[in-house]
């Protein structure tokens, strides 16, 4: 016996072993012995003497006399089965023997009792629980444990009296009673109390949390109604669970609990069908309709006093329906037999089994000490949902990682493609630029040197060209060529380099003609449009200005200056000479027109003005940024 008891004490109280504990508790404890002459460590009472007092409930009353109508009843004793009105009260009497030699504390343990009780030992009251009197506490699922005061115990025969006041609505009765070693019974009580009261309380909290979690998932993902139904189901389950441990239940809560089993069943089915990914709208509508009808029927029955038979009917139909639903769900869930679907199906099967057990228990077909087990099945449903969520989460992470690595490859591929197409584009661009450049050069050769040389050749053939003219024309041609070559040098927007190089080319000839060149340049901002063509145009304009001066001005001195006119967003190149001045009628007129034409193409301008006291000033204005 001691061995068994200590083994029991070592039993883990964890959630996982709840079912093992239930199995042990629902069985008749093997270590209990019937009360007999010699004191046992624990005496189990499966019988008691009972006296039924057909009167209202006094707040206090002395124990009924020995002469009262004591009857022997079997324990557990159900008032409903015995057909006793719950407005009355009653007394139970148990007697046991105390061994004077033994000095251990003794206790009484009652697995289940209607809570409003007063306990007497050898005629003296030693414990009261609940509310005795006209307004008893509404409670039906309480376990009790009291130490027996050592002062009241006496060697030999002892008498224990239990005064029991049922409330009007709840089940009334007394389970088997255990008297004996306080430590052994204390452990027994703790286990029972855990499963009967603490576990449902703990699970209620868990349901609340998970309901909130599920609700927030649904709130963010409205298309996943599964989580909405799950949250709703858990909330109904909370209402139901409170009923298992809340003492002195309010009427409104009691009313809510009445149809809760129906809705719990319906919502569980709706949730499970969505979990399986196979909602069945018509079937679900039928279930809802039936639950609604049942709800009305239950309330109506409660109102007219037919509650017992109607609950039996409704619950029976639901019991049968549960089995049908189980078959439907198993078809649905096993179509895709994933771990979480199998977990879900097992959870629902266990819940149906537990519900069935509780239904039998409720109908008192199992005995008054039987436990209500429905609360214990609900965590399994949460486990199945958790499994689904874990799978999804892990799957999402995996998918995300895979996507990431694919993206990396994709980006690399795109990058390669882009580089390739960029390369192609650049090649095309280069080809086009080369083609354009070639065209420009061709045009240049054709219009410039080419025609120059042709006309020179023609004149030479006619014999009308003097040696001097011939040299001059050829020198012009070479200048032309040099300009073309210089314009091909990438100068990166630096006009001064371009002008400087022209000076470098022309200065020997100017010096030869006895002309001094003054270089009065100021720094210029970069001109982004200085490509070969534009450079050539500018060089031609300035060269033309030099040539005109050289040929017609008879100057001694030329000054080239540059500067920026920020107000008009332009730069200027100025060429002044101290020659004979500009003569509009002269041969140089065509040259000036050429200069003007070229300048306009650059969005620029050329002014040629005579200076006071002789000399000419040629101004070339160029935009800071070329406008197209």
């Amino acid at each position: 016996m001691q061995v068994m008891a200590s083994a029991h004490a070592r039993m883990p109280r964890g959630f996982v072993t709840i079912f093992a504990a239930v199995a042990m508790l629902t069985a008749v404890p093997a270590w209990a012995q019937s009360a007999n002459a010699a004191e046992a460590a624990v005496a189990e009472f499966s019988r008691a003497e009972f006296v039924h007092i057909a009167s209202r409930k006094p707040a206090s009353s002395p124990p009924p006399p020995q002469s009262a109508h004591w009857q022997e009843v079997a324990l557990p004793d159900s008032w409903r089965k015995a057909d006793r009105p719950r407005t009355n009260h009653g007394w139970y009497r148990l007697s046991f023997t105390i061994d004077a030699q033994r000095n251990t504390p003794r206790a009484i343990y009652i697995p289940r009792i209607t809570n409003n009780v007063e306990l007497f030992l050898n005629g003296a009251s030693f414990a009261v629980s609940g509310r005795l009197g006209e307004d008893p506490e509404a409670s039906w699922n309480v376990t009790q444990y009291y130490h027996l005061p050592a002062g009241l115990l006496r060697p030999g025969r002892n008498e224990l009296l239990i005064r029991l006041h049922p409330d009007g609505a709840s089940r009334a009765g007394l389970s088997r009673v255990y008297v004996g070693d306080a430590a052994l019974l204390g452990e027994q009580y703790e286990s029972r109390h855990f499963i009967q009261t603490l576990a449902p309380q703990f699970i209620t909290g868990l349901l609340g949390l998970v309901a909130l979690f599920s609700l927030s998932i649904w709130w963010k993902r409205r298309n996943e109604s599964m989580f909405g139904f799950f949250a709703l189901m858990l909330m109904v389950a909370i209402v139901r669970l409170v009923h298992y441990y809340l003492r002195d239940e309010h009427l409104w809560l009691a009313l809510l609990t009445v149809p809760s089993i129906c809705w719990l069943t319906v919502l569980q089915v709706q949730f499970a069908l969505r979990f399986a990914g196979q909602p069945m709208p018509r079937f679900e509508k039928a279930l809802i309709a039936f639950a609604a009808v049942s709800t009305i029927a239950l309330f109506a029955a409660a109102a007219i006093g037919w509650y017992g038979p109607v609950t039996l009917l409704v619950y029976s139909v639901f019991a049968v329906l549960s089995l049908v639903i189980l078959v439907v769900l198993s078809k649905s869930l096993l179509r895709n037999a994933t771990v979480e679907n199998i977990l879900m199906l097992s959870a629902i099967a266990i819940n149906v089994a537990l519900g069935m057990h509780d239904f039998f228990n409720y109908q008192e077909w199992l005995g008054f000490d039987s436990l209500y087990l429905l609360p214990l099945g609900l965590p399994l449903l949460m486990l199945a949902v958790a499994a689904l969520l874990v799978k999804r989460f892990v799957g999402t992470l995996g998918g995300y990682e895979k996507l990431n690595s694919e993206l990396v490859h994709l980006v690399a591929d795109r990058e390669r493609e882009l580089t390739l197409s960029y390369e192609t584009l650049r090649n095309l661009d280069q080809q086009r630029a080369t083609a354009e450049e070639r065209q420009r050069l061709m045009r240049d050769m054709h219009d410039g040197i080419g025609s120059h040389l042709m006309s020179t050749l023609a004149l030479a053939r006619m014999g009308t060209l003097s040696q001097h003219d011939m040299q001059e024309i050829l020198a012009d041609c070479i200048d032309e060529l040099k300009i073309t070559i210089d314009s091909l040098e990438p100068v990166e927007s630096d006009l001064l380099v371009v002008l400087g190089n022209l000076r470098y080319r022309l200065e020997p000839r100017l010096n030869l003609a006895g002309i001094e060149l003054e270089w009065a340049v100021n720094d210029l901002p970069p001109l982004a449009y200085l490509d070969p063509e534009n450079t050539r145009s500018i060089l031609r304009i300035v060269q033309e200005a030099f040539t005109n001066t050289l040929k017609h001005a008879h100057a001694k001195r030329i000054t080239l200056s540059t500067g920026v006119d920020y107000n008009n967003a332009r730069v200027w190149v100025r060429l002044t000479d101290d020659g004979v001045g500009f003569n509009p009628g002269s041969k140089s007129g065509r040259g000036v027109e050429n200069m003007r034409g070229r300048a306009v193409k650059l969005n620029g301008q050329v002014d040629v003005t005579p200076l006071k006291g002789g000399g000419t000033c040629v101004n070339l204005y160029l935009p800071l940024a070329k406008l197209s």
Binding site: A475, I478, L481, K482, I485, D486, E489, V491, D494, L496, V497, L499, G500, N501, R503, Y504, E507, P508, L512, W519, V521, D523
Partner: protein, 222 residues
């Protein structure tokens, strides 16, 4: 002092013209006038001229090779390239090979002789575009550490502040007298600076070749 000149030019008309122009100045003595690089190389070794006047476009091998040979075997010989356009590619390649100046083929006799005289007196010509090119090249290479290491070994081939200033002014089109005035030095000092810059470019190019060779050697030993 008499300057002994070797002419290497494949066009006989130009050969004759150069000789004729040089003959005007008693300071020059044309010791030979040849039409191929091979002959030019032979004459360099044989006659060791003071001045080499040559065209780059020669029929047998590039004039660049002749310049390289001259600058390596006759450090005192002034190499002068005669080009049609004075275009940058030709001129820079010649300077890198060791030439210290260049002349234009269409130059007037006065300018032609002035150019040679200036060269002998320690001055080199520079065009704005070439000045700009050199500035850019030295700037770009000052950034590289490897070249700076090399600079330590090969002597100072980086440009001095003054040399940079000269290149900058030259790129803006100023001539030597103007630069001298702007910088407070004589025009002659300016031209000798330019010649030094050309030397640096040549050393630099040789240095690059050495550096390249070292690098390849290193790779081989690894």
């Amino acid at each position: 002092m008499l300057a002994r000149v070797l002419i290497v030019e494949d066009d006989s008309a130009f050969r004759a013209r150069y000789a004729e122009m040089l003959a005007r100045d008693p300071a020059f003595d044309v010791i030979a006038s040849v039409g191929t690089a091979g002959e030019g190389l032979a004459m360099l070794d044989l006659r060791k001229p003071d001045v080499l006047l040559l065209d780059i476009g020669l029929p047998d091998i590039s004039g660049i090779e002749v310049i390289r040979h001259a600058s390596q075997t006759l450090p005192k010989c002034e190499c002068m390239v005669v080009t049609v356009f004075g275009d940058e590619e030709h001129v820079l390649a010649s300077i890198e090979a060791g030439a210290s100046g260049y002349l234009l083929k269409d130059a007037s006799p006065e300018n032609f002789l002035a150019g040679i005289r200036e060269l002998i007196n320690g001055g080199s010509p520079i065009s704005p575009i070439i000045a700009r090119r050199l500035l850019k090249r030295f700037q770009a290479e000052n950034v590289g550490n490897a070249v700076e290491d090399l600079a330590d070994k090969a002597g100072d081939v980086a440009l001095s502040q003054r040399e940079k200033e000269i290149l900058l002014l030259a790129s803006k089109g100023f001539n030597y007298p103007e630069m001298g005035k702007l910088m407070g030095i004589s025009p002659h000092t300016v031209t000798s600076h330019v010649k030094k810059i050309y030397r640096k470019l040549a050393v630099h190019s040789r240095g690059e070749a050495v550096f390249e060779a070292n690098r390849m050697g290193l790779i081989r030993t690894l």
